[in-house]
Amino acid sequence: MPKNAGFALIWNNLLTLPRAVRESFARRSSPTSDRARSQSIFANIFLHIHSTRVHPQALRLTYTWGLGVASAALFLILTVTGVLLMVYYKPSLDLAYQSIKDIHYVVPTGRFIRNIHRWAAHLMVIAVILHMARVFYTASYKKPREFNWVLGLGLFVLTLGLSFTGYLLPWDQLAYWAITIGANIAASPREITDVMGITRFFDLGGFQKDLLLGASAVGQEALIRFYVLHVILLPLLLFVGVSVHVWRIRKDGGLSRADSSTTSAGKGVGAAQPLPQPPQASPSKTYGLMCVVKGRTPATNQNMDETVPSWPYLLRAELLVLMVTMFVSLVLSYFFDAPLKEMANPMVPENPAKAPWYFLGLQEMVSYSAVIGGIVIPGIAWLGLALIPYLDREKSRVGIWFEGATGRAVVWRSAFFAAIAAVAMVAIPVKFGWLRNWYPQISQIIIILINPGTILTAAYALWSLYVLRRSGSTRLSAIALFTCFLVGFVILTTVGTYFRGPNWGFYWSPSDWPVH
């Protein structure tokens, strides 16, 4: 053995160190074959939640619009910025507001980070709602994906919960009064129990409010509760939920797509950059394993030729969505500061006190009755959405937007009907008053039960039944109902955001508000 052989060995090892580390990290070298690409996904704890191969349909922006990935990306952005904010934020009545001020003024990049956190939170709510609409309109909730739809609805609630709990933390006037409204909605079952005269024995509303606030008013106890929910409990639940949600996509047959969709995928790839095929055509041991599982697992009934490896195509598409999301959040955060009003002051009620924007549609209905508008109608709407896949089991054209021309017509007609109905239900009480103005002696329970919110909900339900009767199709009926709720949500939210002023009065513009 030459004298310097030891040194040469070390030298060589040093030279190949980066590659060796990378290979030990990734458990394999850079993939050169499709099979190796599949293995890259398989062998990685983070990536193996994907299928190893996907249909190119999944990569088309105009099909998914990347909304699911955008929601997840926003969750990632929120987690990272949230952890950074936690370093400086102090969840105590005396320090919370001042710590936000410090984050805004003196913590390096603090203001930017807080802006990103704020706008990403709003964007996430939007992305999740749009994602839900995409899944619905492409009939992607159909068997076997029913449960993933329900799971998604759960994630939607968690998203709203996260946003709502975060709302209190800055401890400013906006936060204090928005959460006060929220807590009063939680207490609103008292409206019913009061009318029944059983509040003394069965105070569901009071219990919910106590559970939420830990005290009779928003204060230190509420702040800590919301903090714990916001930084630990809900994110953890959301993380687990999202993991299952994504995993179910794969287990339920991958991203939904039209049966008729054809592709030149496998062939096309070769033209640009020949991808060596795996040496043997028979499935690898992993595919073999999959055969043991349910018959509808992804790869079993798919033509290998029609799919492309997830690595790198899907990952690159996902990275693109992540970057787009990041870009939008950054640009918004550059130009618009997250709001921070005066420090919370129980002596000075905000008028109007408004909940976060995505609850303003509900607040619009809450202005008629807290329990109906804040609990019953949202509960029914949520339940209705969750039941859609089970009530509409019709064989549908999965993966086709709006079910083609017929569905498109139903969407337009429903949107038109829903818009008219929602505007009317806002305009009539504004212009002519409601039952209390017409029949001053009327019983309170009737006021609670028959209000513009319930009438609107009933109108939407009747419309969908009408469509069901006319078309005989549960799918079209579901499309009608979903469209109604979506349009109603948008209109009521718009009214609540832009046209409601002090004492929830109607104003065309904030400049018409009476000065207090």
Binding site: P56, Q57, L59, R60, Q98, K101, D102, Y105, V106, P108, T109, R111, F112, D172, Q173, A258, S260, S261, T262, T263, S264, A265, K267, G268, V269, A271, A272, Q273, V308, Y313, R316, A317, L319, L320, M323, V324, M326, F327, L330, V331, S333, Y334, L340, K341, E342, M343, N345, M347, V348, P349, E350, I400, P514, V515, H516
Partner: protein, 503 residues
């Protein structure tokens, strides 16, 4: 549906990935650059470096220049809850060489900082504003979400009142505050407003008025900026313009006096500052709270009574309140009324009327103080030209006929005293305190001889009705029957009047 070849899709994705990633990087870079180079305070600190360099003519100047670093500065005073970054831009605040430079570098004017070292007090404790901010507009916070915007410079003396008594700073930089405190006394503000539990009850207690925030004030009619100081200024100039239907009398102040009174009212904060910051004089005043220093009857009268009763030697009609204000130091009242009557009426007031109670638990005056006020009431010089008449000795009030008296009342008295004596321009006679403390002789003499220099005529005079003694006795009986407050009917019923008289 046909899907384009994968390489075509992938190519598009790659290009967009590049564009968007570059965009995101650019946004990050822009944010970093803005934070690093765009900040106002860095700009000012660089300017200040030049100023320091220009003034570095001696050894000390050179060392100051050398020590000057571009960095964020702040003053933290935990005892006062102050974190002030004002000094990040106001760099020459304690450098006497900076008298002639322009703001924000100017030295602090006056002697204030010599006795109030900026490290111990900070800035916002006196000036208000948002100390945490590092941008001037947000530090000033006039149109920003902050409860206590920068005080206009002419009102800053209000903050002296946090640690000092107004007289203490009179002539020592707090003249306006002292003058405001005097105005508060002179204008009779105590008649309606309480401080430390002493004062009238028509208006709000003002102990923490200086801590009020914008949202607690009705700003609809304020012409200037919607801030609390501006509200006070305009309100003192014309109370009814700012608060429609306000009962407050226009104090009739000059512009300068308005500023002084605003300064004083802004100083009323009841802040819990550490005792080490409170001046001995204010400490003494606070300690005296439960044992107020002895004020003479006249001082007490001026402070608490004069706003409505003025000098008290004559009755006057108050247009604003649409009422006759009794001449409580008038010769007749002092002669007719005994001390028990006066003490009871001061102590309990006349509930339901404008006259509040002034005893402990209401206006906050001790029995001794009420006694001194009564002495003062009785000290008015009696007129020599009008005789004070005694009551005829032979009258017997036990046989008065309230029915007859009621007719007389309806003819002569109801115009001013209201139906059933519920009060109109003249005092309410059905008032419980009046009924329980005024004896019949007092009522007789008031009706028969009237009140000298006041609106109440002498009804025994032929020109004013020429009532006989018997008629007056009946009238007294009727007045006595008004016992409880309320409508005459229930009043009569509650006294068990057997005639079922209906006036």
């Amino acid at each position: 549906m046909t899907i384009p070849p994968i390489n075509q899709i992938d190519h598009r994705i790659k290009i967009w990935l590049l564009i968007v990633s570059l965009g995101a990087l650019a946004a990050l870079a822009a944010a970093a650059l803005r934070e690093e180079f765009g900040s106002e305070w860095r700009h000012y600190q660089r300017q200040y470096t030049d100023i320091l360099a220009a003034k570095a003519t001696d050894e000390q100047g050179r060392s100051l220049l050398k020590a000057h670093e571009i960095k964020l500065r702040q003053i933290v005073v935990p005892e006062l809850g102050v974190t002030d970054r004002c000094v990040s831009c106001h760099l020459g605040i304690d450098d006497p060489r900076m008298a002639a430079v322009s703001n924000p570098f100017k030295v602090h004017p006056g002697e204030y900082l010599r006795v109030h070292p900026v490290e111990r007090f900070g800035c916002t404790i006196c000036h208000r504003g948002q100390g945490a901010a590092v941008v001037f507009a947000e530090a000033k916070a006039e149109d920003y979400h902050w409860d206590y915007p920068l005080l206009p410079i002419e009102l800053t003396q209000s903050s002296c009142g946090l640690c000092h008594t107004p007289p203490e700073v009179d002539g020592a930089g707090g003249d306006r505050l002292a003058s405001g405190a005097r105005l508060f006394e002179i204008k009779g503000c105590y008649s309606c407003h309480k401080l430390a539990g002493r004062g009238g009850s028509m208006g709000l207690a003002l102990d923490r008025e200086g801590l009020k925030v914008k949202g607690q004030m009705p700003m609809a009619n304020v012409a200037g900026p919607h801030t609390v100081p501006e509200w006070l200024m305009e309100h003192f100039a014309d109370p009814q313009k700012i608060v429609a239907g306000s009962q407050m009398r226009n104090p009739g102040l000059s512009y300068d006096e308005t500023r002084a009174l605003t300064t004083y009212v802004l100083s009323l904060q009841e802040r819990d500052l550490p005792r080490s910051y409170i001046s001995p004089a204010l400490n003494a005043l606070l300690a005296e709270r439960n044992n107020p220093s002895e004020l003479s009857g006249e001082q007490l009268y001026n402070r608490f009574c004069s706003n409505c009763h003025d000098r008290g030697t004559y009755g006057r009609f108050d247009k604003a309140y649409n009422k006759f204000m009794p001449a409580i130091r008038g010769a007749s009242l002092v002669a007719y009324a005994d001390s028990i009557f006066l003490a009871a009426n001061i102590r309990s007031g006349r509930p339901g009327t404008m006259m509040p109670g002034w005893g402990i638990g209401a206006g906050g005056l001790s029995e001794a103080e009420i006694g001194r006020i009564i002495s003062y009431l009785k000290s008015a010089p009696l007129p020599t030209d009008v005789p004070i008449r005694e009551m005829p000795a032979s009258l017997d009030f036990s046989h008065g006929n309230p029915l007859q008296g009621g007719h007389t009342f309806a003819r002569l008295c109801v115009g001013c005293h209201g139906p059933g004596g519920i009060g109109n321009y003249a005092p309410a006679l059905s008032n419980k305190i009046f009924q329980t403390t005024a004896d019949s002789a007092f009522i007789y003499r008031t009706i028969a001889y009237g009140r000298i220099d006041a609106a109440m005529p002498a009804f025994r005079n032929p020109g004013r009705g020429g009532l006989s003694d018997a008629q007056i006795v009946d009238l007294v009986a009727y007045v006595r029957s008004l016992g409880a407050r309320g409508t005459p009917r229930t009043a009569v019923a509650s006294t068990g009047n057997p005639t079922g008289h209906k006036p």
